[in-house]
């Protein structure tokens, strides 16, 4: 069996893995190894040919391949070793990784620390349980994106898209530009799941109808999709009888949400958060297994790649520190608790050491809300508040907290409506 040793091993070379690996190297880790299952670095960014990346990190509007290119250059210049076309089969809490590729066969990697950066996967038809037949022509938006943008394969000519997530809207534009007819984008919620700018530039620009509070109730067609039934839904997201309409189409794309890819994390028995579906991490992006760090969409699904990069640099930096024995030892742990209209907080834990640190806490709200006051408090009372004109579940928020201010055992964030 082929064996490799390294200081920091990064699993996945998408935006999270690239940023983590570069940061680990920069922090001083000597041997950094990236393991990627695709044949190229960059992950999903390589199929995201559309613009909209890098606005906050580079102050420029880049496409996916360009954004990836910036990091790939960094990684290559830093002399980070990469194993491409390689699938990780197992990660252990002691830093051992088993992976496989055609060149070396089963490879055992022994690493001082590991960064889990496997990204996420798409929810499927099965997950959302759309009844009907099971013909060809039902794709998740991301799979379709790979086929169209990388494999030169047109998924269909007449398309209905379920879900107003960003990938779905972006595929609506992409397919329209390539000559397909996008019949409608159907969203079960009464608000847009993705970014407003994508609605304007991907749907409105091309006159593609957006049906909010609607869902696909049935798929028709024995061999290939022949159409779908779409119905209006009530407040409980249940179809309203007699509102069904038939849409003639040969393809149904699903953009109905992403799930962190945590098969490896679960198999390694690290503590998971059942709201984010990712590992529980502290502000160092360290999981319950001290050697294992996690970042990007593995931890929680992000809407902007810039955030993924920023969070992943933190993970890479701290994984390097851990491998070198430099990560501060914590005196106590503060648990971050989502309060009113807050779905989750990330990190879920804050390790408080002797040194005061500034920690950024990311979160999502449950419901869209105007005129919101964020209240950050601990057991002893309010730490501070912040006013926001509007919050949306589709747009991640963040706040900064100093560990010096955290005296209790918990930190709570509420998103209250102002009267």
């Amino acid at each position: 069996m082929y064996e490799i040793t390294c200081d920091v091993a990064v699993i996945g070379a998408g935006p999270a893995g690239l940023a983590a690996a570069a940061a680990a190297k920069e922090q001083g880790a000597e041997k950094v190894l990236m393991i990627e299952r695709d044949t190229a670095l960059g992950g999903i960014l390589q199929q995201c040919v559309h613009p909209g990346f890098g606005l906050s990190l580079f102050n420029e509007e880049l496409t996916g391949p360009e954004y990836a290119g910036r990091f790939i250059e960094k990684v290559e210049q830093a002399g980070i070793q990469t194993l491409l076309d390689t699938m990780v089969l197992e990660v252990r809490q002691d830093g051992t990784i088993y992976c496989t590729n055609s060149r070396y066969g089963i490879t055992m990697v022994k690493s001082g620390s590991v960064v889990l950066a496997m990204g996420c996967r798409e929810k499927t038809r099965g997950n959302i349980q759309i009844p009907g037949t099971r013909p060809a022509g039902i794709y998740t938006a991301g799979s379709a994106q790979r086929m169209v943008n990388r494999q030169n394969e047109m998924v269909g000519k007449k398309v209905v898209i379920l879900g107003s997530g960003d990938i779905g809207m972006i595929m609506a534009r992409r397919l329209t530009l390539e000559g397909a007819k996008v019949v409608a984008v159907v969203e079960v919620m009464d608000y847009l799941a993705g970014l407003t700018r994508n609605r304007v530039q991907c749907l409105d620009d091309f006159g593609i109808p957006l049906l909010l509070s609607h869902t696909v109730t049935r798929i028709v067609g024995n061999q290939r999709v022949e159409g779908v039934y779409v119905a209006k839904v009530d407040q409980n997201r249940l179809p309203i009888p007699n509102t069904e309409m038939f849409f003639d189409c040969d393809t149904l794309l699903l953009s109905v949400g992403l799930i962190p890819e945590n098969e490896l994390s679960k198999a390694a028995s690290i503590e998971m958060d059942n709201v984010t579906n990712g590992p529980v991490v502290n502000q160092y992006m360290q999981t319950s297994a001290p050697r294992l760090f996690a970042c990007g969409n593995v931890v929680h699904v992000n809407d902007l790649v810039d955030n993924v990069s920023i969070e992943s640099m933190l993970a890479g930096k701290n994984a390097a520190k851990y491998a070198m024995g430099q990560l501060p030892s914590s005196k106590r742990v503060v648990v971050c608790r989502p309060g009113e209209n807050v779905r989750y907080l990330c990190p879920q834990k804050i390790a408080v050491s002797d040194e005061a640190e500034d920690v950024t806490i990311y979160f999502r709200v449950k419901q869209p809300q105007k005129e919101t006051t964020l209240k950050v408090s601990c057991e002893e009372g309010l730490l501070f508040e912040k006013r926001l004109p509007r919050v949306n579940p589709g747009e991640m928020q963040h706040i900064g907290v100093s560990t010096a201010s955290l005296s209790g055992k918990t930190l709570t964030v509420d998103a209250e409506k102002r009267n």
Partner: protein, 121 residues
């Protein structure tokens, strides 16, 4: 003419009403910041978009290479520009930011590669 424009500068998504004719704007209402007002004005007079797509490439391990317009293009020209991109047939290697169609449709904007196509070994 009155037109409702959804601002895409920030997540607020303000609905801004612009009143005017051609390049002359009479009134702008509903914006909540200066950047929003500016966006609504230019969107009313002359909406532009970055165009991204892919081009066919031979001699590489992948059949396509990602492309973009170097700067935003007039919105009304997007479909015609796509026709030009459709006609591209490149030969590897293609480098990032290599100009593939200079000055597309006399706009002064180039179509450049954003991905890379290495020659197949």
């Amino acid at each position: 003419m009155e037109k409702e424009i959804t601002c895409t500068i920030c997540p607020m998504g303000c609905r801004i009403m612009v009143c005017g004719e051609g390049e002359v704007i009479q009134s702008v209402k509903g914006y909540t910041c200066a950047r929003g007002e500016q966006y609504a004005r230019s969107e009313f007079v002359h909406p532009v978009r970055i165009l991204t797509s892919t081009a066919l490439v031979s001699g590489s391990s992948e059949p396509l290479v990602a492309v973009r317009s170097s700067r935003p293009l007039p919105k009304e020209l997007l479909m015609n520009c796509m026709k030009k991109i459709h006609m591209l047939h490149l030969q590897a290697p293609v480098y990032r930011y290599q100009v593939l169609i200079p000055n597309i449709m006399d706009t002064g904007v180039d179509i450049v590669a954003t991905g890379e196509a290495k020659t197949q070994d």
